[in-house]
């Protein structure tokens, strides 16, 4: 099966649209910020300081980037290990998102790390006591696994049957390895912050940070699946497979409930609810994060919401924003008071971050257009789409 060729544009120059202008502006500012980063160092391109050594590039690019890519391992586990096949149509977009996500995280790290020329050091200079060492290894290995999970899409596109057979032979251990590596380092990103008990505000600092990071990553991976299906259905003019996505929304509601319940128990057992009475920035940021998590969870339990594409999409977006708020609170804002300083990213930090996101969207779109990411989906879901009800309830349990 080959991808349908995109319509050839009659014009030589691409059409100018608002989004393309915005895209170009972001990339131009990102290019200028890159120049600043290379020639003036971290001091010339960031607002980081000795008291606040990690900023937006860690808080967003790495911590959110890795989390938002979690759909890859979640869906691989659902489809191939738990063998719940009706989720297959959203598997490839999730793997593509994860692969791009990890590549962009690596790219973002090249900006953030002081000596990007030594990025390979953790692979040969070991310190098994370091969480960062574990993260470095997991990101390296899992990016490799994602590359191998993405390869069949390339083989299929070019009709390479031999290598396809070869990769199918190792696919099961590969997928199990991928799920394990993700489990390890999604949680490790939380473990990173266990070392700062005196700096991180108690609404976020907890010994169960690794567990919370893991569960929230699974939830946001599902939300991203809904998010990207909605966007790609618009971008590529495909019909939205609502029954399937409604079913994903159901799983998402359960994942979010588990997450919120662990969060509640943690706050209860540590006895920190009284902190909410203080009129501090942290209180309001925490409440914002919680509201963004609780509202979609409640809504997703209602069939009416799950069956409405707009409402389902809005819920997914809220979960994504709640996740981003959480990672930024743990990685940045929750550390400000404890570090005795304020941090606001410099424009160039924002420009690089936006560029990475924009590049991610663009590459996703190009690959979605030229590679068989979605087409298996439309063929497979045709019988499902015919039924005007949610997918097989067995899917959720």
């Amino acid at each position: 099966m080959t991808a349908p060729l995109p319509k050839l544009r009659s014009k030589v120059l691409p059409q100018i649209t608002v989004w393309r202008v915005v895209f170009a502006a972001i990339l131009l500012s990102g290019a200028y910020a890159t120049w600043l980063r290379i020639f003036y160092g971290l001091g010339g391109s960031t607002n980081l300081s000795d008291k606040f050594p990690w900023g937006l590039w860690i808080g967003f690019d790495v911590m959110c980037g890795v989390g938002l890519a979690a759909g890859g391992f979640t869906l691989v586990a659902i489809v191939h290990i738990f063998n719940i096949r009706q989720y297959r149509p959203v598997l490839r977009p999730a793997i593509l998102t994860a692969f791009l996500g990890y590549l962009l995280v690596t790219l973002g790290l090249l900006y953030d790390v002081g000596r990007p020329d030594r990025m390979w050091h953790p692979l040969v200079m070991w310190n098994p006591h370091s969480v960062m060492f574990e993260v470095a290894w997991c990101v390296t290995l899992y990016t490799t696994v994602l590359f191998l999970e993405f390869l069949p899409i390339v083989f299929e596109r070019f009709g390479l049957h031999k290598p396809m057979e070869w990769i199918h032979r190792i696919s099961v251990p590969l997928m199990i390895l991928g799920v394990l590596l993700s489990t390890l380092h999604q949680s490790s990103l939380g473990t990173l912050f266990l070392i700062v008990p005196e700096k991180l505000y108690p609404l976020w600092y907890t010994p169960v940070l690794p567990l919370l990071f893991y569960v929230s990553a699974i939830a946001v991976g599902l939300a991203m699946t809904i998010f990207e299906s909605w966007h790609s259905s618009r971008a590529f003019g495909r019909a939205l497979e609502l029954p399937l996505l409604a079913s994903v929304g159901r799983v998402l509601a359960v994942a979010m409930s588990v997450y919120l319940w662990i969060r509640f128990l943690d706050l209860l057992h540590r006895g920190v609810f009284s902190l909410l009475l203080r009129n501090r920035t942290e209180t309001w940021l925490f409440l914002l994060e919680m509201a963004l998590a609780a509202v979609p969870t409640v809504l997703l339990f209602q069939a009416r919401v799950r069956r409405n594409p707009g409402a389902l999409y809005a819920c997914a977006v809220m979960v994504v924003f709640s996740f981003i708020a959480n990672r930024l609170n743990v990685g940045i804002t929750g550390l400000e008071a404890g570090s005795g300083t304020h941090y606001l990213p410099k424009w160039s930090e924002v420009a690089v971050t936006l560029s990475l996101v924009a590049v991610g969207f663009a590459i996703f779109r190009v690959i979605g257009q030229y590679f068989p990411i979605f087409e298996t989906r439309s063929a497979e879901t045709a019988p499902l789409a015919a039924e005007e009800k949610e997918a097989d309830p067995l899917a959720v349990g």
């Binding site: 971290l42 030594r118 050091h121 200079m125 960062m132 199990i176 473990t191 266990l194 700062v196 097989d392």
Partner: protein, 255 residues
């Protein structure tokens, strides 16, 4: 026995001789302008802070169980048997986790350098290895900074607290916080009044992450068996379904 430094804030006259000696030992510039900067930075690895009538000297605490050395992904930071926590700039990738992890906010970074390094006091590892005093202790005119065996310095600090109870806040800073530090402080006032952090846990910080990291082999082995087992069961179910005839459940076609 590990070496240590005892800093007695009640004896310090704020002459900043330690700052000058430290700058010289590291080959860093030192002048009136830098002397006036009362904070640690990549060009000032020790500083005298003024807190009202009191002085407080800041330098790397060279913790007994350093968080920085435990978090460094490439092992660029090492705790030596002699006491100092030393840094190998050739290994450092610049992730700055040591700076984030340090409970005393000591490590600093060469932010404006294109090929930056982390900078911190290493308690004059080279000098102490050669049997010499640290540069700061050697130059201190009033013995406010003393360098020696940790046990002996603790004994001396206790003797000072006992002999002049009205002049001292009756505690030694650095004895047990975060598992103990190589730098010990005496002060006339509670430590938070001279800018020292007192909300630190007593247990060594590396334990907080190690407790989770040490589970890694268990998670990997249990996870492999669990996931492999689930795959085996679910796939067997699919095989049986295939063998028993056409798929009756409403599902997408299988591969």
């Amino acid at each position: 026995m590990p070496k240590a430094i005892l800093y007695d804030s009640t004896l310090c006259i704020g002459c900043r001789a330690c700052e000058g000696a430290c700058a010289e030992r590291w080959g860093l510039p030192y002048n009136d302008k830098i002397a006036a900067e009362e904070r640690l930075s990549a060009h000032k690895l020790t500083t005298i802070e003024t807190h009202g009538d009191h002085f407080c000297r800041r330098l790397c605490m060279n913790c007994l169980q350093p968080a920085c050395a435990s978090v460094c992904p490439v092992g660029a930071l090492q705790k030596t048997a002699l006491g100092p926590v030393i840094y190998d700039a050739a290994k450092c990738i610049g992730c700055r986790y040591c700076m984030q992890a340090c409970p005393f906010q000591v490590p600093t970074y060469e932010w404006s350098n294109r090929l930056p390094r982390m900078r911190k006091c290493d308690m004059c590892y080279a000098r102490q290895s050669a049997g010499k005093q640290t540069a700061c202790a050697e130059v201190c005119p009033v013995n406010a900074t003393r360098n020696g065996e940790r046990d002996e310095l603790i004994a001396e600090a206790r003797a000072r607290l006992a002999s002049k109870p009205d002049q001292y806040y009756q505690k030694i800073y650095g004895l047990s916080a975060v598992g103990g530090t190589s730098v010990l402080y005496l002060s006339a006032v509670p430590f938070e009044q001279i800018g020292l952090r007192t909300n630190l846990p007593q247990e060594p910080l590396p334990m907080l992450t190690w407790r989770v990291l040490e589970l890694l082999p268990d998670v990997v082995s249990t996870g492999s068996v669990l996931l492999g087992g689930i795959w085996w069961i679910t796939n067997r179910r699919a095989e049986v379904a295939r063998a028993e005839g056409p798929d009756t459940r409403k599902e997408g076609p299988r591969r």
